[in-house]
Subunit: 343 residues, 3 copies
């Protein structure tokens, strides 16, 4: 019996199956430090314990995306080792902040299956949950990927498509216990713009750019214990390039968006996301955002803002698709998320 | 209203103005770990809690230069985003060690203004202070930068030049509370040379060299939450090169100086500093030092030593300026600082 | 008197001499975080406090190889600064786990000396011990290196060759106090294979590969406070290449071996090791293992497995030597170690 993990193939998934992912991870101040080294992260709530306490939290939590990547990384050996494509995200919700000392693990439930008409691949939908050491769900999201079949002659499963919300409603968002923006210090946060200053439809060019290096994206991707060969092994692809983990682009774009969205502090919802084009070392990543929606949460001074975050590798800001509706070749990421902002 | 930070221009500064910089930062063991990965840091006081305790401190503090970079980084969006040149430093003093768990923030007071004769730029002098969560000043320094004017027709301010000490006197230096070198372990520290073994005028070639990589200086610079585009974006300069943050060269040279100055433990004063020439990826940084002065502090076994620290990218050691008094092209840094050393 | 460390030459060593190495180091969660960024580390015992506690330990220890590298790094200025070659390892034993908050220091005792027939170099054998802040030995190993003579005319010392075990016996291995694999969670650990599932002679191709970057190996090597110029200074070797620290290859291969040996949790013995060929930036490191032996420890569910770990930079797995018995040019490392595994 081979000892190495061949990954799961399409016919290995069944509706209702729950996969417990391996390698729990305890986080510490070290994780925060590395996040600051790998990304231009400056949101004050994730940088300063005092600032977080002034917002009603016990301490500065691990960045929401760092928590996401830790959970995501655990799913790779079970969900996407034989994946041809990462197709989408939906219903992502951050339910509890993660603090230094917490230990994260992850499970995924198969909620959708559809064999492709070519008979060689199929689409698998999983709802992944990240749990802490108290078995509390800290975040959850739905992801669907196209996976190879091991045996082309294996019978197709009954097609099941999950009923997914195209966008989370404001009442779906979880405002962390105790969070209050009533005493929010805009000076320390870095920008004066509050929830009321953003208009639906407003677009923001985040101006700054980062040229990506191999060493950085590999360190980041390893850091999330994501082991997909394509990110690390220059001999794996015929073109000798290492594909950059899409999550690296997400974190790069989100942290670049500080410049203009410094007060979009906590990510609480992920409505959708597309890795529109691959990113490689040498690309210079920039980002722009668009305000898609706003909502009140009814909590102490906390507003919700729905943002489109677009990462590019060149080209002008605010350009997304061509006339045929296809993503422009310089667009790397199109993410739709909800953040919490002082009102 | 544009949401991104355009930075301040020369006419936005006025004498006496105090700028509270954004993004407080809580440090942990993670910051120490990364400092050890980014620089060849080996000073025992900053590596071992036990060693620091044997010197009378409660624990191993954050490296003095790491504390400096954290504070410096916070000032960039407010002071040097539109700077043409970083002209100098003076009166830098480290007043209290920074420990894991401390949260740093920074303020700058404008103490000097002088419009240049070209009418397009001016020099701004600020005294920057780093404060901890108890509002205690942990370090302070004066920096002056040349900044663009937004509007060339804006009236020139009255010229005010601060009265700066060319060199801090020994009595200006703060010896941390409790620090004692009476039980100093020279073996664990790495070298037998004590304060009395160094002669004024003595020069030390630190021998070791490090060839700089893009990924490393970007991780370091991001780590200090320094966001100046020129360090990260290869498309920003016409030559496609990313300029390396001068502070990266300072830390590289200081840590290389361990070899010959292992007992120059704590940096307590910064008299002056020039980034003589730019540093780029691929340069091999070496360092040499010269003993400029010595002084007793009157504290338990603690001597002060004033050092010139020069970083180079090639060339022979101990060469600094050409016949015209100009820095040689291979000189990267000329720093003048005070350190504490066992007597 | 020159202030920099010239290193020891062959005639500076004498049998029985004990060298106390400099720069003690306190480790924290930051060290674990960086280990996860630098290597694809996924062994659950070193990733999760909860998992480690379920195995009877108080918390997740520092990775055994990280502890080894920290100790090894301290010896470099005293043992291998003038070394021509790192010849071998033997009798490596991990005696106590290292936890965040522990402070490590190291000593080496000279246990063997043999001048080479060319009269220019000699072989020095040292037994190095890593100690924690309680002066407990946490690990020890024998290493021998070829060192230059300062003065070719210095008399040869009497030849003394230590009596080294070619392989540690099972009873030489220290099972950490309290360790129990009776409640071991194979799902969280990542693989179902237990001690009984591995057969002596079995070979495992670990499949995954990592293409090495300069920035990464320099960060890792600096992180261990290993200062050998050849790893950092591209101007040091005539070919302009930076030689990669052999320990970087060891950690890369060990962490790649997770895929197939996820349950070989703790390294407790190092029988032998050869850095068969140099590794440079751009090489793609892969690994394979062979089960050399198995033993019971008599402790709660804990078996011992002796493994050959081979790192390569190309070529097919399971190829080690040519017909003349010489390592193949693509072999980087041949390591022989004992690990603990659930029975």
């Amino acid at each position: 019996m081979a000892k190495t993990n061949p990954g799961r193939f399409f016919e290995d998934y069944s509706i209702g199956q729950v996969i417990a992912h391996a390698v729990p991870r305890t986080v510490s101040g070290g994780e925060r430090a590395l996040y600051h080294a790998l990304y231009p992260a400056r949101h004050a709530l994730y940088s300063s314990d005092q600032f977080a306490q002034s917002c009603g939290l016990p301490a500065s939590p691990l960045d929401d995306l760092a928590a996401f990547h830790v959970v995501f990384g655990k799913t790779v050996p079970d969900v996407s080792l034989n994946a041809v494509a990462n197709l989408g995200y939906a219903e992502g919700r951050w339910l509890r902040p993660v603090y230094p000392g917490d230990t994260l693990r992850a499970t995924s439930e198969v909620i959708g299956l559809k064999q492709n008409s070519n008979g060689k691949t199929g689409v698998v939908y999983v709802r992944t949950r990240g749990l802490n050491q108290h078995d509390e769900v800290v975040l959850e999201y739905v992801r669907w990927v196209m996976v190879r079949k091991r045996d082309i002659d294996a019978p197709a499963p009954e097609t099941t498509l999950p009923d997914l919300k195209p966008v989370l409603a404001a009442q779906d968002l979880e405002v962390p216990d105790g969070l209050a923006f009533t005493g929010y210090d805009f000076t320390l946060a870095g920008e004066p713009h509050r929830w009321g200053d953003y208009a639906i439809g407003e677009q923001i060019d985040h101006v700054d750019g980062v040229t990506i290096e191999e060493a950085e994206h590999m360190m980041a991707t390893r850091f999330w214990q994501n082991t997909a060969k394509v990110h690390f092994d220059a001999t794996f692809r015929p073109d000798g390039q290492r594909l950059i983990y899409g999550g690296h682009v997400i974190s790069m774009a989100r942290t670049l968006s500080f410049n203009g969205l410094a007060n979009a502090q906590m990510i609480v919802g992920l409505n959708a996301g597309s890795h529109a084009n691959p990113c490689f070392s040498g690309d210079t990543v920039k980002a722009w955002s668009e305000v898609l929606d706003k909502a009140e949460t009814g909590k102490q001074g906390v507003g919700a803002i729905r943002l489109r975050l677009v990462a590019t590798k060149g080209g002008a800001p605010f350009q997304l698709r061509d006339e045929a509706g296809k993503y422009l070749p310089e667009v790397l990421l199109d993410l739709d998320y909800w953040a919490l902002m002082p009102m």
